[in-house]
Amino acid sequence: MPLTDINLPLATWAFLAALGGLLAVDGVSVPQIMISRPLISATLGGAIMGNAAGGMLVGALLELLSMRHPPYGAAKYPDTGPAGLIAGAAYAEVGGGSLEGLVAALLVGWVLGWIGAYAGYGRRRINGRLTLASEFLAADPRRLERRHRLAIGMDVIRGILLTGGLLVPATLLVALIVLIPTTPTGTAIGATAVVTLLAASIGSAARTTAPDVRAWAMVLLGAVMVLTAIWARAW
């Protein structure tokens, strides 16, 4: 798609930015109903730009990729809400259902996820300053209530700024990567890389979730049954 054909009206941009704020706050602050998971946020981004299935494909791959980063305690993990939204929207708008678009959207989603995460760590440090003066807060508990709400408000603003600020550059980047003329060898390498990424994600996700190597019997069973069903249907 030529860059001049990108269609992102101001109202859509503003809506996506506001939605980014909502998704960002769901990630950690409130209410953690998991609309911030890339599977959901990328689907929403795709649906808003007219290709929910494309958005969900990007979201599902990002989801598997981020499964090895569970949010245990103070562990570092990507902020997938705004990142998934942007990646899904960009793929739907300029990805054109191509492998190049898919690779670009995954790249954008992963990088933005970590940018969001580092912005979140900064916010956590500010939260520390807001809530550290325990005696001052205890003297009038309404101060604590105000500061707690302020911290949540800052998280919303973080999401709005991230989405609003990075949506257009990310979409342009995806469009530029899609414009690279790829050879059959290039496509094969790209597909191999995405499948490798998928396999590595599955391996590490299994490690996070399952107790031991017994898990492999079940993973294999699931894969073989689906493969059998696909081949049986093809015949």
């Binding site: 953690q32 090895r68 956590r124 939260n127 809530t131 707690h148 690279i180 890389a193 499948v195 599955i202």
Partner: protein, 251 residues
Amino acid sequence: MEPRRRDLWQAWWRSFTVQGSWNYRTLVAPGVTYALLPLLRRIHSEEPERLQESVLRHLDSFNTHPYLSSLAVGALARLEFEGASDDEITRFRVALRGPLGTLGDRTVWAEWRPFCLLVSITLFGLGLNPLWCALVFLGVYNAGHLWIRVWGFRCGWQQGREVGRLLRAFPFQRFADRLWPVTMYLLGAATVLLGRAVVATADGGTSSRWLLFIAGLMVVPAFRWPNQFGRLAVGLLLTIPILWILLALTG
């Protein structure tokens, strides 16, 4: 003074926000205190000094899984209501923070969420409308999420200092612990379905058998060395566009 039903509702609702002011020093303590406030105000309505002491106590470092924070809020409020001593509440907080964190991580993040996500991804791979898949995930996942929050708050408020016994027999854990074989089965199914969708985007430019062979080769060492192979996967993602540019330039 005994909290009213409205205070209990308010505290439960506020427990959804416990991580809103998460910080590296006191962790979720400000959020848990924020959730406790409607109950503390009622309990200590006749003694403002005790309210201040109580808030100060709860602002000390505390950690919990966010969904099980409702249990902590209920139990701590019960102890305050029963007039437990400062020392007893402090010891109770220390005893509670470890189990609440690990139990939630193990049950929700490691079992329940991957299971629900993989159900949704598998349905998507089988051709269900993506918006329905999203709704299935949100509906199923949040049924469990809300159950934990309601169960936790009820048990915390009713049992008070006895919640440790209840946590040892946390019913959701027994349920989630049995999910892993299904989760692994879905993981295998979702891999093939997503791999097929990826190959479809390559527009016939590559052999699916060859890719399947590579995937098979990669997935086993990735299980053995998850961090290294995870980094390899991300590294590949970052380098492919550069490789494409080089291939395009060299013809």
